[in-house]
Symmetry: C3
Subunit: 355 residues, 3 copies
């Protein structure tokens, strides 16, 4: 890609003494390791000194970045944008299109019901099973050994990896990603006690609806509703090994880290950030933009949006800190200091730091 192509992709202004935008960019790299033909980024002004020494051909920086250090010879082209990190992620994605583990077309071993309707450019892998009346949108991928039940719909551009199950009647939106082993539409856990201590199974007649742009992690399980729907809102991101019980609703753009469990009928709002191994009792309402620390236990509703909660049982962070320091001053400050980090630990933009 040329510098000009990249600038157009991320809506950047080229701020450079390079004569034109025709410079060829071949790779993305860390600022310390970048060489000729590489593009990198600088998000934190604290590291501005690297601009004096980097060998990168181009660096994505903030519109507002000032005091560029002087250097000998010609420095890198600067691409000015509002959010350098996000722009860099987009360049990175452009240079690294997602792997395409399934070849184009329908593998001869796939079992596709004759009543299924497949869009254009659908890829179906070896040993996938697609049930009656399934609708698969344009460009969707169904991985090896995926099992798609009768009457399921899968939106355009969605990716179902190996061993995914989508049971009968569930709806998967557009551009949804289901990592390997995810189970959508297993029976909710509902039983009516008999006098003798044994149980009748309560029929689980509802479905699961997964809206557009959701990602569901490996081996995560989402139960179908008793009646009606279990619903994962658009843009929500669920990590691995999460349990979502029947009739739960997860709001749009909420992020949930691994091994968290949500009990039946709880409604979690939009734009929440929930760390790993958190547990929610049933029938709660969690306000929008709530942040919850790792391993917390929620047993009552949260009505004020935008608060931070943590602990077992969970309490608002502003309340928990002094209490912890009363108990043991040696652990109080780290807990207080790290709350934000734990809550957002997997959700935040952790690109370089995690690589």
């Amino acid at each position: 890609m040329t510098l000009r192509d990249i600038a157009a992709l991320i809506n950047a202004r080229i701020d450079a003494d390079v004569s034109d935008g025709g410079l060829e960019i071949r790779r993305v790299a860390k600022i310390e390791e970048a060489g000729e033909g590489d593009i990198t980024f600088l998000a934190n002004p604290k590291y501005i000194r690297h601009l004096a020494t980097t060998n990168a051909s181009a660096v994505i920086v903030a519109n507002a970045l000032k005091d560029i250090p002087p250097r000998e010879g010609r420095g890198p082209a600067l691409l000015r944008v509002q959010d350098p990190y996000l722009s860099f992620v987009r360049v990175l994605a452009a240079f690294n299109p997602p792997p395409d583990p399934v070849a184009p077309g329908i593998h001869p071993t796939a079992v596709v019901a004759s009543s299924a309707r497949l869009g254009r450019d659908v890829r179906i892998a070896a040993y996938a099973v697609v049930g009656e009346r399934v609708v698969v949108g344009d460009g969707a991928m169904i991985g090896p050994h995926a099992a798609v039940g009768d009457d399921v719909t899968i939106g355009p551009g969605s990716l179902l990896y190996s061993h995914v199950t989508v049971r009968e009647g569930c709806h998967i939106g557009a551009r949804v990603i289901l990592q390997p082993g995810a189970v959508i539409g297993s029976d909710g856990f509902g039983f009516a006690p008999r006098k003798d201590g044994s149980y009748d199974k309560i029929p689980q007649m509802g479905i699961v609806v997964i809206e557009d742009d959701v990602e569901i992690g490996a081996n995560t399980t989402i139960d179908r509703a008793t009646m009606g729907e279990t619903r994962i809102g658009r843009g929500a991101k669920l990590d691995n090994l999460i349990q979502i019980a029947h009739n739960v609703t997860i709001g749009p753009h909420t992020v949930i880290a691994a091994q968290t469990g949500v009990s039946g009928s709880t409604r979690i709002g939009a734009n929440c950030v929930i760390a790993g191994q958190v547990g929610f009792a049933g029938h709660l309402e969690i306000a929008d933009r709530t942040m919850i620390g790792a391993q917390s236990g929620l047993h009552r509703s949260i009505t004020t949006p935008g608060e931070q909660w943590f602990g077992y049982p969970a309490m608002p962070a502003r309340q928990a800190r002094p209490m912890l320091s009363r108990e043991d001053s040696s652990t109080a400050s780290p807990v207080g200091r790290d709350t934000d980090r734990m809550a957002g630990m997997r959700a935040r933009a952790a690109f370089w730091t995690s690589s």
Copy 2:
């Protein structure tokens, strides 16, 4: 179904000014939403006022219900039973037979060993694999991509959903339900340390026995015994993503919510109710009818039957409440009040409330 059919099904007395039991019932519904031809139920006398206004054709009520409010015109037929909720669940199940995701017969792509013995009306789905000397009972279902190892037995009427694994030698009883991705008979986690800090694998030579009428949730894992058996007692219900280690015994009719883990050789009694994300250390004995709150950590045996425990480390509820209130009175009462609810949160009859 006619009113008379339903009365016979749930052993009800028809208490009505309808002239006969020939009334045709076509649907089940909530009491506020029910119309002509619908049946509903009233379990909580607090809502008795609905009997004056519901348009349902029939309502299941308790034998003991009194003070039926007067109403204009002809009210619904009343079906008198001992337990209206349980009876309603049975009517619901009769109107909603479980989905039948697998067509009758043996799919041509299923790989069934010639030494396997299949009962009558067995359904085996596409790409299922059934090993040597496997015995499958009448009416059992083996879902797509299920892998049934050599020498496994599967009782009549059992349902194995997609991607279930039952490894070699394990026994599955009658009417057992294994949700998608459940793993039965993986190796127990046993290693003998060597002097240099590395480990020898201890052979895991036992099996798993799952008794009649058990349900196992999606992606739950049950390890085979080192020697002897890991055993899940009849009627027990295990939710999703649960870990059962080698040589564990779960008693009959015990209910365990999602993401709980039970360490090796622990024995849990009968009719216990265990909430989600609970952990049990190894080699414990848990008495019958114990109830354990969500996220508790059990590191010692419980010898008195019928108690409620919770916390990390777990303690009896009667002991935990005052301690919590000493620490922080603002959280004490909710915890106290909600203990019962958390313990039973997924196990109780949560039909309307969760829909």
Copy 3:
């Protein structure tokens, strides 16, 4: 096997009044239950009285064991070794070779890319899928419905059970065991927030490397790195339903019990013992030989090797005990006493006790 064969296997000295090493041993058994032709072991001198009564033909005992009780008639042959338990495990393994759930050769239904290179004596089961350019070492097993992505390498002698996923580009060492449903190489959980509260997916371009002699439990998930590697060190043992996030490193011979989760970029040292349901925040460094109690929450690094930690938030055991006893003396001593046991509860040599 003859007594002499067994002695050679475990490097034992035969200490017996049996005339020769030609005695035929046919079975392993518990010391109380052993009969003629059986071999057993005695690790704990506390049970030395059993030597006077056992009917075993041979008993593995410590070199140092003294004061053998007198008995009438001829007692068992004694095999003297340094570590009777470990030696016994090896004899047990020799008598019980791991089950071989997959027949020799390549099942006709397996889909193996023509560019894949298979070693000698490779077994590939029904409906396994093996991608382009995959390399499979001598004697490796690929179970039913396993999905091996393009460019994966699998070392000699490794066992992949049913429904295992190894996504594109990952490396599996020699003698690795992947229990059913394990997912290796799912996308790391990384998203860059946009101004409007939605997220861009950060490409996950790295891989997973699993070194030699590792065992991974059923339905455990190990995410690929954002860039670079997620790495599981040689000899490490991971139980079921564990979550390992992107860019994590687990040191050699570290043991982790079920349902533990490790957040992104955390590095755990060598020879650690981590109990079940533990959570680690991201970007931590955990020193070698650390032991961590069940359900602990780690949110800061541990720099001193060989310590015991537990609690939420985790603290060193030496610090936690007095604090717990201050709070509630009735629970203090069991917690203190059981800490070692909880930390090591699944890792220790738990053969007879767990059978």
